[in-house]
Amino acid sequence: MPRTARDVVFVDGVRTPFGKAGPKGIYHETRADDLVIKCIRELLRRNPNLDPAKIDEVAIAATTQIGDQGLTLGRTAGMLAGLPQTVPGMSIDRMCAGAMTAVTTVAGGVAFGAYDVALAGGVEHMGRHPMGEGVDPNPRFVSEKLVDDSALVMGMTAENLHDRFPQLTKERADAFAVRSQEKAAKAYADGKIQADLVPISVRRTTPEGGELGWGLVTADEPMRPGTTMEGLANLKTPFRPHGRVTPGNASGLNDGATASLIASEDAARELGLPIRMRLVSYAYVGVEPEVMGYGPIPATEKALAKAGLTIDDIGLFELNEAYAVQVLALLDHYGIADDDPRVNQYGGAIAFGHPLASSGVRLMTQLARQFEEQPHVRYGMTSMCVGLGMGGTVIWENPHFDGGSK
């Protein structure tokens, strides 16, 4: 049977506000699956043209797939969100790139013709499920020295990346972090973020977090507007004495969920769904686990090569700020300035937080907004580093492109 790959588009994306993990965090008493469910329902409300029965797949990512993040979340969340029972679902895991992988996986299905419309998203409740909960690494990793001891501690891999690129100093990382907070505060002030947030009701029954009872969360909790270089200078370096990685130039431990609608371009047009981005190419690449933050560089190389593009064709970047150094490594690699205005225009994970498997769709949702605002840009990319030494990059085309400079 002759086949033609179909164009895949990003229709819409939403997320919960992100919270700080832990007993004082906004989501301490909120289930992870409920965060996903509310994102799915918001997508359906925002896209009333979409008959839920037409959704061919629900792919939901989580790194720690146990408890309220287990039980094949894509299926259970779909059922609990009120999707028809004919809509199937699955769970996805590529750690930090979970939601990104959910998107590229269903995108593959769309391109192949297996799906017309799919839901893809992710969740991580790092308060309920701390990193590494229940893991059982094979002892051969150690006995055969397959990875360095530091490979499973992400902060240590970031210190290792500083070692590899001595020019990426703590000062550059801190300066990047200050700008991330500034850009995020400005994006909030300009109303760029709120439109894609799903309000979440949260309950509190223990007093350490504040007033008791039900409340409503409408903004990201981790943000620290007004962060200064001085303020960051004296923070502890928890991963290495006299190291460079601090809570100030890294993303935190967070709770949150995202969801997006992915469709074939034809189906989107037929159903009257918005077309916010067109998928150009994607790639995941493995690197040494102890410098996992290097991953986005070869991933980007590969994705650009597949698209027949060069880095100069990319007009907007949404790079996940797991650690400032890891973004700087990519920018340095391509000779892009630390404060290049094309990069993370709304700020990044250092300000908003990084609930592991949910973040990929946040990058896409923000890039989609930027495409709308900047029709002179033709291509943008979302990229992130992934635990155990991986990187993932997805390149998108702006459907609003007006033939301008790039």
Partner: protein
């Protein structure tokens, strides 16, 4: 007296209150609708312990309202909401506290305390919103009625004003506010009709359709959507419009309809519905303050009355005692029941087969003496399953499973060789039943329980000829088996704990209210009903006109008159039971020659219904041979109630049941005797009948009565 003082005084009377907190939490609403204060009602326990309002709880809510009142006045907030913990909004007044009230003034304080707190929600400087997120009953519903707006979750399973059902009126604003919100007719449906229809619950969608709530949202993100809606109401984007309430004749017609409903359910015997209707009627002029005063008064009067105490007592019997049967052995002794045998394939046996099949979902096999009867029995069960399928009560898969699980056999050994529980429903004669049990015992495994559905024969005697009499229990159902909840479980002299525990385990799976009774003639319900009917029959035989005898017990508010009940049971069965009891207790149980004549004439009852109303059948009238002692209604009532009280006293002396509470539980669940009588013993105590006829009260003072 200030609200705080009032509630402090009430709190001292109720030291055991489970206290509900009223947490106030502030946050910014979306759409720039300002800072909102949300009150969460939460007793700190999970959803199995619903949130209630006792005096300390009301004081907590009052303090929360103090706080938001000041914030609203100072312009710090733009709105106030009230919601509940997960799955529960609030289920109203704490009845345990109501039971403790002994003085009219304290009862009045409860009503006034609730009003004083709740009504402030309607007079803040900002709009107020109730979000019915979960079960809402009584005072829980009412706290929301005082708010400016309400939303309700599609997922809520229970929403009601059950006060009239218990013997109260919705007295924290319900009687006054609800008709003013949704009109008198709908209010009558909620307050009177639903309440008197076994406390029927509304679902979220109905709450919205009735106009009680202004918006309906799905459960998955109910609070989020409610708060977004709130923001749009506050910002003026959404305008809430409600239909105009008809304050004309429709209001009066609604109240009339309510009276008709009340009459048909309680026959004037319980005051609550009528008091509620008076307040609804007066609420027509929209004077809320006067309505609230009337509610306070009605509440206090009813709290100090016996009907409410009986109602709460009955409610607790059905809700609590029914779930933990007095005297039942440890449930760990129960054996698994994976296959059930039914001896007999007649109508009763077929109904039992259907019940066991549906509830236990294990193979059920019927036996009888010829194939035709068996086919008829199995056919009956299949037919009933088809009806359930047609009504959508079960799916095709379930229907297939159930039909495949019911079979019939002429061969008891093949049928019962691997049955764990065999029940017989053959002809009500000792010799026949003994023989059946002997045949069954010969073919069943050692662990099999043998149950008898006898209504009047001795279980011990039935078991006496068996090798293992310890495995026999009485399993006395009530007709209609599918509807009446009661199951009298009879312990024979030699019945062992394992058999009894298994019987209780099966009863629970059958969703029956099981009561342990001693192996005494006719057990509980039939003995009391037969004594009751026998005394009615006696006064008729002695010369009192049938109509007078029937009317004499009308003020009790029983579900039907004695002779209509006799018709339902069947005169022949009634006669048979009276003969059995006459043999056991000849001095108290008579066999009416008139009833015998009616049965002999083949009549199915005393009445004909040609005119649409029951009228004495002239053919029956011609059969009656009456004496010349004509009693008044009051004299008849005294005689009948004295007889019932005497019999109950003797039954308690004999140890037929553990306590008077079990007698009442049996009468409520097996004979449909009403809540406002508390079954019957609270009423007999209250009216002094027990003292007169049995020489003592049946219940301690304060149990189902106002404490001293």
């Amino acid at each position: 007296m200030s609200t705080a003082e009032l509630l402090k005084g009430a709190a001292e009377l109720f030291p055991g209150e489970v206290v509900t907190q009223a947490h106030v939490r502030h946050f910014d609403l979306p759409k720039g609708a300002g800072t909102f204060a949300l009150i969460t009602l939460d007793n700190g326990l999970d959803h199995t312990k619903p949130t209630t309002f006792g005096p300390r709880s009301l004081a907590n809510l009052s303090a929360a309202i103090d706080q938001v009142e000041a914030e609203a006045r100072d312009g710090k907030i733009t709105g106030v909401g009230v919601t509940g913990k997960p799955f529960i909004f609030a289920v109203g007044a704490d009845l345990k506290g109501v039971e403790l009230l002994a003085r009219h003034e304290d009862a009045l304080a409860i009503g006034k305390g609730g009003h004083d707190v709740f009504k402030r929600l309607s007079s803040l400087a900002v709009p107020t919103f109730a979000y019915y997120n979960g079960a809402a009953m009584g005072g829980g519903v009412e706290v929301g009625l005082h708010c400016t707006y309400r939303t309700v979750s599609k997922a809520i399973p229970a929403f009601s004003l059950p006060e009239v059902f218990l013997g109260l009126v919705p007295g924290w604003g319900g009687c006054t506010l609800l008709p003013n919100l949704i009109g008198a007719d709908r209010a009558v449906s909620v307050i009177i009709e639903n309440s008197l229809s076994q406390n029927k619950q509304l679902r979220g969608k109905q709450v919205f359709e009735l106009g009680i709530a202004d918006a309906l949202f799905e459960g998955a993100d109910f609070l989020e959507q409610s708060l977004l809606w709130t923001a749009s109401v506050l910002s003026g984007e959404t305008e809430v419009s409600r239909p105009e309430v008809d304050r004309g004749e429709a209001w009066d017609r609604a109240v009339e309809r309510g009276r008709f409903v009340a009459d048909s359910k309680v026959h004037g015997a319980a005051p609550a519905a009528y008091r509620a209707l008076e307040i609804i009627s007066a609420a027509k002029n929209g004077d809320l303050a006067a309505g609230f005063d009337a509610e306070d008064k009605a509440l206090a009067d009813l709290i100090m009355g016996g009907e409410l105490r009986s109602g709460i007592y009955a409610f607790n019997l059905v809700q609590k005692r029914a779930k933990r049967p007095a005297g039942a052995p440890d449930r760990s002794l129960a054996r698994p029941v994976t296959k059930v045998g039914v001896v007999g394939a007649g109508l009763m046996a077929s109904q039992l087969a259907l019940l066991f099949l549906r509830r236990l979902e294990v193979p059920v096999v019927l036996t009888d003496i010829d194939q035709e009867r068996i086919d008829k029995g199995v056919g009956y069960v299949h037919g009933e399953i088809d009806k359930l399928l047609a009504k959508g009560r079960i799916g095709q898969d379930k229907a297939n499973r159930l039909k495949a699980s019911v079979t019939g056999s002429l061969n008891k050994a093949a049928a019962f060789g691997d049955a764990d529980f065999v029940i017989e429903a053959v002809f009500e004669e000792m010799g026949v039943k003994q023989q059946v049990f002997a045949e069954v015992e010969a073919v069943v495994p050692a662990h099999t329980i043998l149950a008898t559905n006898t209504s009047s024969l001795s279980v011990s005697e039935m078991a006496s000829k068996l090798k293992h009499p310890e495995r026999v229990v009485g399993f006395h159902f009530f007709n209609p088996v599918a509807i009446l909840p009661l199951l009298e479980i009879v312990r024979g002299e030699l019945t062992d704990d394992a058999a009894l525990a298994t019987a209780f385990g099966v009863a629970k799976k059958l969703k029956k209210t099981a009561v342990l009774v001693k192996d005494a003639p006719a057990f509980v319900v039939n003995r009391i009903l037969t004594r009751f009917m026998g005394e009615i029959q006696n006064v008729i035989d002695e010369g009192t006109p049938v109509a007078v005898a029937e009317k004499a017990v009308e003020p009790l508010g029983l579900p039907m008159s004695p002779l209509v009940l006799l018709e339902l049971v069947g005169p022949a069965i009634g006669l048979h039971v009276s003969e059995t009891l006459n043999r056991a207790f000849p001095d108290r149980f008579t066999v009416s020659p008139n009833l015998a004549a009616v049965v002999k004439a083949g009549k199915r009852g005393f009445y004909v219904y040609d005119s649409g109303k029951p009228e004495l059948d002239p053919e029956v009238a011609a059969l009656l041979k009456q004496g010349d002692v004509v009693l008044t209604e009051e004299q008849v009532r005294d005689r009948v109630l004295d007889a019932v009280a005497q019999e109950i006293g003797l039954m308690l002396d004999e140890g037929v049941v553990a306590e008077a509470q079990d007698i009442d539980l049996c009468l409520i669940t097996g004979a449909g005797w009403p809540f406002h009588l508390g079954g019957i013993t609270p009423y007999l105590d209250r009216e002094g009948v027990s003292e007169r006829a049995a020489g003592r009260r049946f219940l301690a003072p304060g149990v189902a009565s106002v404490p001293a």
